[in-house]
């Protein structure tokens, strides 16, 4: 057993801190910002993505020949933790490409696909931005129920259907699309295939869906006779479900370390705030109720950190992780929820003011996170779906649905 990071990993941590101090505005707290909503925020995020790419950090764990630098899972964890802590924008470029499209292509893409798509993502250019077409109006948690069809005609697939909750579709150059290639079969998770679709293709319509915070994160995407070259099929036709489950593990696995970083920052900011804020002549930090609550949040954070590390350890040992990312995600979204709520309780009435207004405390971070956390607990598999996965695959309990 050993529970500390190597010197190499700690040096990387230091380098990222230095980068954040040098490249970001002095009072920057990027927690819970939605960079894909406003044009100026998106452009700023992409300018930082370019700089991260130049340092070799954006896709550090990928093999060298595809634009990475073969970093270890531990370096990747430290990087994710630090970018979460400093709220470095642009690290995910809309998430899909960096977080799971790239890793999926490395796992089951053709050599041609790897050479064509991976270096663009790794370069931090707008052409490396992806969205993901999984959910449909009648296929949310019941993802295998997707109806979007891809029918092979000559050398092309013709795609018809609708996707929804498609984050970043309005910024993306490519869509990582799941569509049905076999119909009327017994098991509905058979017959699904994955495709790379150029978002500029004729027949694609993107409609914005505003979230309750007034931000434009996700969209509806309509496919009307969209033609995709057969070479854009990823992996085996009909085995998309299995490919996708592997990809989801990446989606869930990478978010925990970043969550650890963001939670650590929020906690640090709250600790600072209660020390500096007076109530009846005493700092809030002397209030035993606040001390107890912050201690609980710190314990949750440390637990999440151990989960993230344990999952990374297993992956570094070549273990195929199955339930671990689900555990990390379910626990992480709970930890985020509790910290956000504790934050609002500490800010009191100030937690209701607009995060961008001059009355906002801690640069509106608490409000941003408070507005964001219910979404975070749903994206990439709801907490209850994660519990189903753990129940079935770790505890061996039968499913009832």
């Amino acid at each position: 057993m050993e529970f500390k990071f190597s010197e190499k990993e700690e040096k990387l941590r230091g380098d990222i801190r230095k980068f954040a101090k040098e490249e970001l505005p002095p009072d920057w707290i990027g927690l819970g910002l939605t960079e894909e909503s406003r044009d100026e925020d998106w452009e700023y995020a992409m300018s930082i993505a370019k700089k991260l790419s130049q340092r070799g950090w954006l896709t550090m764990a990928w093999p060298k020949e595809y634009g990475g630098r073969g970093a270890s899972p531990w370096e990747q964890l430290v990087y994710n933790e630090e970018v979460g802590y400093w709220g470095i924008p642009g690290t995910m470029m809309g998430a899909s490409g960096v977080a799971w499209v790239g890793p999926s292509l490395i796992l089951f893409g053709s050599e041609e696909q790897k050479r064509k798509y991976l270096p663009i993502i790794a370069s931090g250019e707008p052409d490396g931005v992806w969205c993901t077409g999984y959910s449909e109006p009648d296929a949310g948690s019941d993802f295998a129920n997707i109806q979007c069809r891809a029918v092979k005609k000559g050398g092309k697939y013709v795609i018809n259907g609708q996707k929804i909750w498609t984050s970043c579709a309005h910024r993306a150059k490519w869509c990582w699309l799941a569509a049905r290639t076999k119909f009327n079969i017994d098991k509905k998770h058979h017959g699904i295939s994955l495709f790379i679709v150029d978002m500029k293709s004729p027949g694609i319509t993107v409609n914005p869906l505003m979230n309750y915070a007034g931000h434009h994160i996700f969209n509806e995407v309509f496919f009307d006779d969209v033609r995709v070259p057969a070479s854009n099929l990823v992996g085996e036709e009909g085995r998309g479900w299995y490919h996708l489950m592997q990809a989801l593990v990446h989606e869930r696995g990478g978010t925990a370390p970043m969550g650890v970083g963001s939670l650590r920052r929020l906690l640090d900011e709250l600790v600072q705030y209660v020390k500096e804020t007076q109530h009846e002549g005493k700092p809030l930090s002397q209030n035993p109720i606040i001390r107890q609550k912050l201690a609980d949040r710190a314990i949750e954070l440390e637990t999440l950190r151990m989960f993230a590390c344990e999952t990374t350890w297993k992956m570094s040992q070549g273990v195929i992780v199955v339930y671990e990312p689900s555990r990390d995600k379910a626990f992480g979204s709970q930890a985020l929820e509790r910290l956000a709520i504790t934050g609002t309780e500490i800010l009191g009435a100030y937690s209701q003011v607009d995060p961008d207004s001059r009355w906002a405390k801690i640069k509106g971070s608490i409000q941003h996170i408070y507005l964001l956390f219910p979404g975070a607990s749903i994206a990439g598999g709801t907490d209850d779906i994660e519990r189903n996965i753990i129940g079935q695959f770790r505890l061996g309990l039968p499913r009832s649905y």
Binding site: M1, A298, C309
Partner: protein
């Protein structure tokens, strides 16, 4: 680089402990010992000492031990906790042998440690008093200087297995300063000691020990006079981590038996574990226990490598308190009515929750220490 794996030696220790306890300390034995006045099984005690070498697991060879490290002890206590082994192992080895090894004079170590390793002596720590807390201010039992030694007068509360202890480590006030306490090595049969077993929910043997002018010679002080609180801190650090390891093992056992039950029990023509109301409760508790495991291992590893962190130790104990209780309650609910019966083992674990929770600092106490660790 981080490594969550056990070494080969640690795996062997775990497996041999698990095998031994499964056969030598089944739940039927635990139930018998709840009704036994001594509260432990001398036959098992000697097997543990002689065949397994557990009393001397972390003692050096020159005192009859095998020179293992603290992490080994944590792994062993996880297994003992899994089987809720009744007896004075924790008090003898963790609460007393560890501080004697660290702070004792050569003479004291030679006099006592080989007898601990061989299983000849049972020890306990007389620390808490009427306040039942772990603050130095709670120590009122007084040691007053006489010509050739000290006289101890006062009452200790919740001293585990004092009624069978050959010796006690007694924390006594020797100065008015808040932490002005000293630790004495006291023969359990000394004149002036009166011991009463306190009936508890766990039916373990917690005792009230009354000291009435108990005479102790000067060479039976552990460490330096008036500086005993440093030793108490040393004991608490280690004991808290190991208590957490015990709790972890107990939680794992409760999860295991409940998971088996909800797979087997059929209602509405399906195993009840397929219903999400129960399944998600199992999963939430599973996540809790996993979290506890890594907090405990990390705290234990840090102690083992000489980099003990009181922040991480307190995090582990606050978590252990919460997780043990929640796991037992939810798992009893998942059993349904049968979980409420004496025949099921789960009740044995549930009745031990409060002992573990209030031993070595409750959740408020440890959260406050975490707050201090955060810079609050």
């Amino acid at each position: 680089m981080m490594d969550f794996g056990l070494s080969e030696g640690q795996e062997m220790l775990r497996a041999s402990a698990a095998d031994f306890l499964r056969t030598e300390c089944p739940k039927s034995r635990v139930r018998e010992l709840e009704e036994d006045d001594r509260g432990y099984d001398p036959g098992l005690w000697h097997k543990i000492a002689e065949e397994m070498g557990w009393m001397g697991l972390v003692l050096p060879e020159k005192y009859g031990g095998v020179g293992g490290d603290f992490m080994d002890l944590a792994i062993l206590l996880e297994e003992m906790g899994r089987n809720i082994v009744p007896g004075p192992f924790f008090s003898t080895v963790v609460l007393c042998a560890l501080p004697i090894l660290k702070y004792g004079t050569d003479e004291q170590k030679e006099r006592f440690l080989p007898k601990v390793a061989s299983g000849e002596q049972i020890w306990s720590l007389a620390l808490t008093e009427a306040s039942a807390t772990y603050e130095a201010s709670g120590i009122e039992l007084r040691a007053s200087l006489e010509q050739e030694g000290y006289l101890l007068t006062g009452i200790k509360f919740l001293v585990p297995y004092a009624h069978v202890a050959d010796h006690l480590l007694v924390v006594a006030r020797t100065s008015e300063a808040r932490e002005g306490v000293s630790i004495f090595l006291v023969d359990g049969k000394s004149p002036g000691i009166k011991i009463e077993v306190i009936p508890t929910m766990a039916r373990d043997k917690m005792c009230e020990v009354n000291f009435n002018k108990v005479r102790v010679s000067k060479d039976n002080i552990l460490g330096k006079i008036d500086q005993g609180w440093d030793i108490v801190d040393f004991i608490l650090q280690r004991a808290i981590v190991l208590k957490c390891a015990e709790v972890l093992g107990a939680c794992e056992a409760v999860m295991q038996m409940t998971n088996t039950y909800v797979k087997d029990r059929v209602q509405f023509d399906r195993p009840i574990g397929s219903y999400q109301a129960l399944q998600h409760r199992m999963v939430d508790r599973f996540i809790d226990v996993e979290g506890l495991r890594y907090l405990v291992y990390k705290a234990a590893w840090e102690v083992s490598t000489g980099s003990a962190s009181s922040l991480h130790i307190s995090m582990a104990k606050a978590k252990a308190n919460e997780v043990y209780q929640r796991t037992c309650i939810d798992c009893i609910k998942n059993h349904g009515a049968i979980g409420f019966t004496a025949d099921q083992d789960i009740g044995l674990y549930y009745r031990r929750v409060k002992t573990a929770e209030f031993s070595l600092g409750d959740s408020d106490f440890h959260r406050e220490r975490v707050a201090v660790g955060l810079g609050l």
